[in-house]
């Protein structure tokens, strides 16, 4: 029903932002997962957002934004010389993920603010609809 579409829109925004927060958590948790092989090391992941076409004006879909996929960063892994590490390769190097902790923190703050925006939209819409339901009663 079109009256409640605003909840689906804000809900899709919240879902997309929570995927973003999840990838940030995954990246930060694995920031120090070193590997002995540059190809096997964890790579930073980022979601790709896309606006759903025709979400407004009676389109088929009710959501407004969706996550089309999660891409892995192709920045090179950082090689560290740690011959004492049991994971080190024959030359004594271990490979750390290409996670940039500063970028991830900024991403987390941005995602958190956007999530809060969608929550506010939902709260205000709820109050508007409740007031509409009380129409003619007072």
């Amino acid at each position: 029903m079109s009256t409640f579409k605003v909840f689906d829109i804000a809900g899709s925004g919240m879902a997309a932002q929570s995927v973003r927060i999840n990838t940030v958590a995954s990246n930060l948790a694995n920031a120090n997962s070193v590997s002995g092989n540059a190809n096997d090391v964890y790579r930073a992941r980022h979601p790709v957002f896309e606006a759903v076409k025709g979400a407004m004006r009676g389109g088929a879909s009710d959501a407004a934004v969706r996550v089309t996929g999660i891409v892995e960063s192709d920045a090179p892994a950082m090689a560290r010389y740690e011959p004492g590490n049991p994971l080190a390769d024959s030359s004594g190097y271990v490979y750390a993920p290409n996670v940039n902790a500063v970028e991830e923190m900024v991403d987390m703050i941005s995602a958190s603010r956007s999530y809060q925006n969608n929550v506010e939209v939902m709260n205000t819409s709820k109050e508007m609809l409740l007031a509409t339901l009380r129409l003619g009663q007072s």
């Binding site: 925004g13 973003r20 407004m56 004006r57 956007s114 205000t124 007031a131 129409l135």
Partner: protein, 135 residues
């Protein structure tokens, strides 16, 4: 004969346009981080005019002085006349034109005006009830 829906006047249509605008701004806010998303808003005057209310302020219509002239606004009957793209104040590199603060302000303003329309309708209904009960 008394037609109750005509008693509500423009407010019933205004309420519908307000809720459509709330959806549109919610859509903008949900896509605040989507690359290449272009923010949109409702031209309230055009939306209300499309719902059948004649607009005394007038849009610009092309005058037809001969029978074979084309009318202006009717030519774009297929498109929604009320939707407009927002002009971004500070365009971002990823092509997104959503200005979150402005959208929030518009959403709050729209919510207050929605409540105002509800108040108008409520008072109309109350005067109708007074007329019906005759007290």
């Amino acid at each position: 004969m008394l037609d109750i829906s005509s008693q509500l006047g423009v407010h019933a249509d205004a309420l519908r346009v307000r809720s459509q605008r709330a959806e549109l701004i919610a859509n903008n806010l949900a896509n605040a981080d989507t690359p290449n998303f272009k923010a949109r808003d409702v031209d309230f005057r055009a939306a209300l005019a499309a719902s059948g209310y004649a607009d005394p302020g007038g849009g610009l219509a092309m005058s037809t002085t001969q029978g074979r002239h084309l009318g202006g606004p009717s030519a774009m009957a297929g498109a929604d006349p009320a939707l407009r793209y927002r002009q971004p104040l500070a365009p971002s590199l990823d092509g997104n034109t959503v200005d979150v603060q402005m959208e929030q302000a518009s959403f709050a303003e729209n919510a207050v005006r929605y409540q105002a329309t509800l108040t108008f309708i409520n008072s109309r209904l109350r005067s109708l009830m007074t007329a019906i009960t005759g007290q």
